[in-house]
Symmetry: D2
Subunit: 382 residues, 4 copies
């Protein structure tokens, strides 16, 4: 990108009315202009970092509540040297990323799409298809149900075609997947599509950055270090997202009815907080609807992911360390010869493939770029 050193809040080269993915893909020219609303949290910071390395993007504006005109380095000392400064308004740009507490992006969405920008929400406001799910899982009434109807669940590996279609419309709203769902849905989709999930326990482990940057006593180093605990029993909001998407995979499969995967009707999702900063490991314990062989599993996953640049199917259980800093999802699936159960394990960097990297990947899909643009980094180890 071109690091815009002062405080641009306008993508001045692009005439109003000529913003958004459709205009860009029709050959408008110039860089893709991008704005970020909610630039001061962990996902926002990571997104800026990635966009600073994206060759086709111009960062047209950053917005963060109560931080107008502050250098971004005050929030993200690692970005000192970028010269970026926080603006005082929602940027005018081809694409606006929102990384905000739930309910906030939904309230801004109408204004954002009205200016022609594609809206890519890193938060949860456009993930669930049914407005009725918001009061149940998120405790708020969705303020923009019409936009919600037009929103696409932005997991390119499963919804690439829908995303591209959305990019050609006047209104482009992408609900980017949550961190746990990204890892879990990718790990289970081939099984769900084949109607193989009879019963399912999703036991996930997350680094602490997923809890965000707000000062909370139970996220202090002294509390988290040398400890592990489960949390959010039976009520974690990401459950709804996993159920929606895994059920949809069942429907998508060949010859499958809605009841293909009884195990995904109510996903047993148990998240854990572990003493690390980044990374999610999701361990999925599956009772299958019929006996499967390892060969069948290997085929299913190879077929599903062999052309996916960011999904690696591996023979040994993956470590989160080996995807740290990358947009990769590494998956291992095995059948237990004693019991016939299937264990499917997925690893991602929660701030990249689980948030900011996935957001950039979605941007690439919308604007017709190679999907790996700006996301080629190998993981960083040790």
């Amino acid at each position: 990108m071109t690091a815009t050193q002062s405080t641009p809040s306008q993508a001045s080269n692009v005439p109003a009315g000529n913003l958004g993915p459709a205009a860009y893909r029709q050959g408008r020219g110039g860089a893709i202009t991008v704005g970020i609303v909610g630039a001061t949290g962990y996902a926002g910071g990571e997104l800026i970092r990635l966009l600073l390395g994206h060759p086709n993007v111009e960062l047209a504006g950053l917005y963060g509540r109560n931080r107008d005109h502050q250098p971004i380095a005050a929030s993200h000392p690692n970005l000192s040297g970028s010269g970026l400064v926080i603006d005082g308004a929602i940027p005018h740009a081809d694409a606006i990323f929102t990384a905000l507490p739930h309910g906030v992006a939904a309230g801004m969405a109408t204004e954002i799409v009205a200016q022609g920008s594609a809206l890519l929400d890193i938060g949860p406001d456009f993930r669930l298809h049914s407005p009725a799910d918001y009061p149940i899982w998120y405790k708020f009434d969705h303020p923009a149900p019409d936009l919600l109807t037009q929103a696409v669940y932005g997991l390119p590996e499963l919804h690439r075609a829908e995303m591209r279609a959305a990019a050609g419309r006047d209104v482009t709203v992408i609900g980017l997947p949550g961190c746990y769902p990204t890892a879990t849905i990718l790990t289970l989709a081939p099984l769900a599509r084949a109607g193989l999930i009879a019963d399912l326990a999703v036991d996930a482990k997350s680094g602490v950055s997923g809890a965000g940057r707000e000062a909370k006593a139970d996220m202090l180093f002294s509390e988290v270090n040398e400890s592990v605990k489960a949390y959010g029993l039976f009520s974690h909001r990401h459950t709804a997202e996993m159920e929606q998407e895994l059920q949809a995979q069942g429907e998508a499969g060949p010859l499958l009815s809605r009841e293909a995967n009884p195990g995904v009707a109510t996903v047993d999702f148990l998240p854990h907080l572990i003493p690390m900063t980044r990374g999610i490991l999701t361990s999925c314990h599956v009772r299958t609807t019929r006996p499967v062989t390892q060969e069948e599993l290997d085929s299913l996953y190879a077929e599903a992911y062999q052309d996916e640049p960011f999904v690696q199917v591996v023979a040994d259980p993956p470590s989160t360390k080996h995807v740290f800093g990358s947009n990769l999802c590494r998956i291992c699936v095995k059948v237990d010869p004693r019991s016939g159960r299937v264990i499917a394990i997925g690893a991602i960097d929660n701030l990249i493939k689980g948030a900011a990297g996935q957001a950039v990947q979605a941007l690439n899909v919308l604007f017709g770029l190679p999907e790996t643009t700006g996301l080629e980094h190998y993981p960083l180890a040790p």
Copy 2:
């Protein structure tokens, strides 16, 4: 204990032929003399630390391969000040603890019991009842199948009466439970006893000290830190122990046949390594054989554990930090109102309740002391 400053390998106050729990409980008098074989590993060190604070124990000898006459502080710098020194032979004592790689204690057992000592094996050599299980799970033929027949699985909360009975016999051999089984069996026993386990996934997380002290490249700080992974898929040796004990609980329950808990026939056990030193959290996902209410669960667990000094049934998911440094097992059990599944979670300090503390608890049972003697420590936090 009396810290024996030089290198005693004899409990000299006790005439030969007068050793062991039966002699002690018949009023022999004096301290309980104790020896440790395998004193230089993590479990051995923790056991010494605990026994140094035990009011009724005299540490009669320590043995560690190739370290004869070394101060124990060379192996365990935290025990500098104890003045203890490693001996060159198996100690002559009322009780011998073995903390050794699998197969080694079994080879020494005949000699140890012949001198009248109770044998308490912290390793796995006397945990499985059937000799036939050893070649399958541990890849060795058990060298002392007769002793194995007489061994008791030393989890006092479930086998206290058998342990006491064994203490009255000429041969007293206790197979102390493994770290994962301790947490998991205690967490599930009330459900198993009630015949409630229709299907079961045990997803456990362990600190690294459970992997022992041997220099292995994949246990280096740089490899483990900021990472989580599953390991031992379908083959972890502790699986056999869980199956044996949970099946036995099913049989022990009222009106239950062997088939009471189909979910424990083959336990789906998936252990994970997480970046902390101590602690195990076991998260058990249970499909029940019939619908249960939270009230029923609460009653089952209260009844099972209300008189147990080391088991705390709590209302919120436990953190391993809050049992760190103690012999406690903290358990939380909840039914999912949406799906009817039960989640049962247990937390222990793997080196204490999962190894050395449990060993001391068993010693107390065998020698007729209050079970908490020397184990009264509150957990240490943060």
Copy 3:
């Protein structure tokens, strides 16, 4: 101790007017009654844990702002099982420990000593001898300068006689040392007493629990993990304490004038925050006033500490892990054969020898008990 299960705020066995160390040492009988003001922070919790294991203490009351009648386990889940509950008033007891933000204990002190209680302040309000130092280093005017005059700096290894003397007076106020000063002063005292410190750089590293339990964004796990930084340059409040005490040691030495140790006139103290929960390591770089040999150093330190139960002089640089969970201070001092500089390194557990354990040690001194009572724990490793 006797865990007082309900919420006692009175040491009812002890008639008013008969409280405090003098009464106790004159044979009053009964347990030492103890109250804690500021029970909900890390130091308070650790103090409760230690006192629960102290054989001569009865915990007569706990006080924590805005938490009246809450179980202590709500603040310290590791103390669940103690049955302790927070009271609504300052306890009436032989000794009151205060673990409070600076300035608060000083405001309560007159009331506490008026009831006959000894006051042991874990905070800084009674550490500096000169009232004039408080506005400079702590930015408040000391509200009880008369009590400050009578206060003793409660580091038993250096001020045991003064502490005993204070215990015989009507007013007993102990200013317990800060965590960094405890480690640093013990590490340097023999050098200072011998007038050997010509120049001094104290470079210290602390675990995060020293920053307390308040929710601060820069103490979040995600911020502290995988990072190290210096902080408090030239202004850390513990500097004043080190200067006061090291200068006093210089005066205390044989034949030494005030100018014995020019290096302690202004201590160059640089603290660092490192990614661990507990522990302080202080690395002291000393230019000596004259050449010294290793033998001379060894003699100086052996002489100073050979009878101290909590100070261990060791031959190799100590790890904080090897004093974790104990009241020990482990010290190593070496002269560089190339340059003649001396490196003196000290390690403590900041919450024990640096706070709560030291407080219990001081209690033992005041009430005439063996100094190790309730503090016999070996460090817990790994």
Copy 4:
């Protein structure tokens, strides 16, 4: 770079006799071919990762003892997807990086330079100018003293011109700086050049990856976690390097004799191991040869580093987290108003600016590329 999927051990496009920086800079064309000897350690892995992202480099061969024909992913699972395989011989390439135990690269050096390759040694074999220093500090006699004479200390910020000059010669040997010296020399060079260092204590803290990848019991997670210790007192090999370079800066300064900085004659260097994977923080305590003001310090450092792309002089003490994953060195220098002492603190990622990134920077210097090529990454936080 072009990821060469099979196992090329020859840069086949480049005729023999036409290798090395001089040929390249004279317009030979094509990519810079690069080989790595010692590809399986942490520095080697990091170097591969960086070179995979370098636009002008072709990775012509990897060599790692006893791993011929293994995929690199077996050593570095994060590099799975690169398709790289380890070769069985020293590669034939424009530049050979060696990342080997001390003494090994020196033994291979003659062969490497004979084929025309520039040799960039990440190990210590070409850092010290005097062959006589090797038996003293490294305990071996240097096998190639002639090459050592021609070697340049490869810290571009101080020796850029010499490095460029070396690139024009037939024999190009670069001794790349050690991790501690990189941070420390950059942090102190402006003071040394101004003849300001009267006395110096360097107190450094390193993450564990600096200890390498060999399985050592004291580098196990359980030993390092929750602990800090000093090591290598008075004998750390990096001391020699710091003394050589800081003394040279003194000579380089205006009007300075060799005795300009008495404090660097024998550097008091005390390294510490802290529980993190990556990062070095060096805290330098300086007594100055004359009084200095903060303004003077600010000017000195601004002048020294304002045009350096990888050195950032900052106003607040830097955290290693904020340079993690980058080639940056962040420096803060302050004068103590009370004592006049100067504290200078530097932070780097030890595997990047302290090893592999610095190596790539040196490659860029030698081959005439912009110095930041392939090293533009912002640090990755949190």
